[in-house]
């Protein structure tokens, strides 16, 4: 009987001790949860022009030469963005055999977002470089159009559909 009571007492104290330690280990414990998040950025290239349409009118002639005076337009702005490397902006007309001369040039490129190529004569529908060296940048430039004609070209109206493209350099 004595041993029986002794065993009961021992089991009681063991249970009590275990209960005590489990309570203290849980009390005051801060909880946390983890989450994995992946943020992926792909290459993106975008270009836009501020003017959807413009008209160049040649209606004056030079008194000295007798040739028509050039018509100039610098109202349009070209804007672009790329987060890729070694891009360029090209320009092309859909007019394969233009009658009157049209030239285009990129002016006042912002920051270091590219380098203007030399002035381009749009005398066929070949794609030509307008701005080169565009890398991880956003940019803006003025588009300068110059239209001219010779007396021998006569009179008339000509339409160009100009395409600007940001592409791999």
């Amino acid at each position: 009987m004595k041993n029986y009571h002794k065993n009961i007492a021992i089991r009681f104290w063991i249970a009590g001790a275990l209960g005590f330690f489990s309570v203290t280990s849980a009390s005051g414990q801060d909880a946390s949860a983890n989450q994995t998040l992946t943020l992926q950025v792909f290459e993106a290239n975008k270009i836009d022009i501020s003017q959807r349409a413009l008209t160049l009118v040649i209606n004056q002639a030079s008194l000295e030469t007798g040739n028509p005076v050039e018509a100039v337009n610098e109202d349009g702005n070209l804007v672009w963005l790329t987060n890729g490397e070694n891009k360029k902006i090209t320009v092309a007309t859909n007019n394969a055999v233009p009658r009157f001369l049209v030239k285009v040039h990129a002016l006042d490129i912002t920051g270091s977002s590219g380098v203007a190529a030399p002035e381009i004569i749009l005398n066929d529908n070949t794609t030509r470089d307008l701005v080169v060296g565009v890398t991880r940048s956003w940019g803006k430039c003025k588009i300068r159009f110059v239209a001219s004609s010779r007396v021998s070209d006569g009179v008339g109206t000509e339409t160009h559909l100009i395409s600007y493209t940001i592409t791999g350099g």
């Binding site: 005051g28 950025v41 975008k46």
Partner: protein
């Protein structure tokens, strides 16, 4: 005059027969006194101790954001924002005035990631947090409650930074406010 043996036996037998009856009467008359017989007693103390419990979980272990051509505007350096509200945070707290903080393990992320607690069912959402390795308040004024909120992640990038991937391990923690 001596009593005869027969009469003695009769009286003894009578006593014996009457004994159960008497006992029965006592039991009927004094039931409590019979049931209350105590042969010994012991006492012990029982203590109920409820510990501080904080539970926190996210509805999904991983999520993602993608920035591409659809999220950019020509002429601007900023790409995005893109937003993810696909996951939520759940908690259970049985003590008063706690808050939830958030941090990332990424020391130098290439792109910007922000997080905001949207529509918490308990507590107050802190202002949108730009994530770095420092714990920042995400949800405050949490008392004894269980609740949930939507995790709104917003990602942005700069074109000048280029392309790439940031992999974050975000840690949300319940701490004393």
């Amino acid at each position: 005059m001596t009593r005869s043996l027969t009469s003695f036996r009769k009286s003894t037998a009578l006593k014996k027969s009457l004994m159960p009856l008497a006992l029965f009467v006592v039991l009927i008359a004094f039931p409590r006194s019979v049931n209350a017989q105590v042969y010994g007693s012991r006492t012990h103390t029982v203590t109920v101790n409820v510990a501080t419990i904080n539970n926190l979980a996210v509805s999904a272990g991983s999520t993602s954001l993608t920035i591409g051509a659809a999220n950019v505007t020509a002429g601007q350096n900023l790409m995005g924002p893109v937003v993810n509200t696909a996951t939520s945070l759940l908690w259970g707290i049985n003590s008063s005035l706690k808050k939830v903080t958030v941090r990332t393990n990424l020391v130098a992320p290439k792109f910007t990631l922000k997080v905001l607690a949207v529509a918490p069912t308990q507590g107050t959402a802190s202002a949108e947090v730009t994530l770095n390795t420092t714990d920042k308040d995400f949800l405050i004024n949490l008392g004894r409650s269980s609740g949930t909120c939507t995790l709104q992640y917003t990602g942005t990038a700069l074109a000048s930074t280029g392309t790439g991937t940031d992999s974050h391990t975000l840690t949300f923690s319940i701490v004393v406010q």
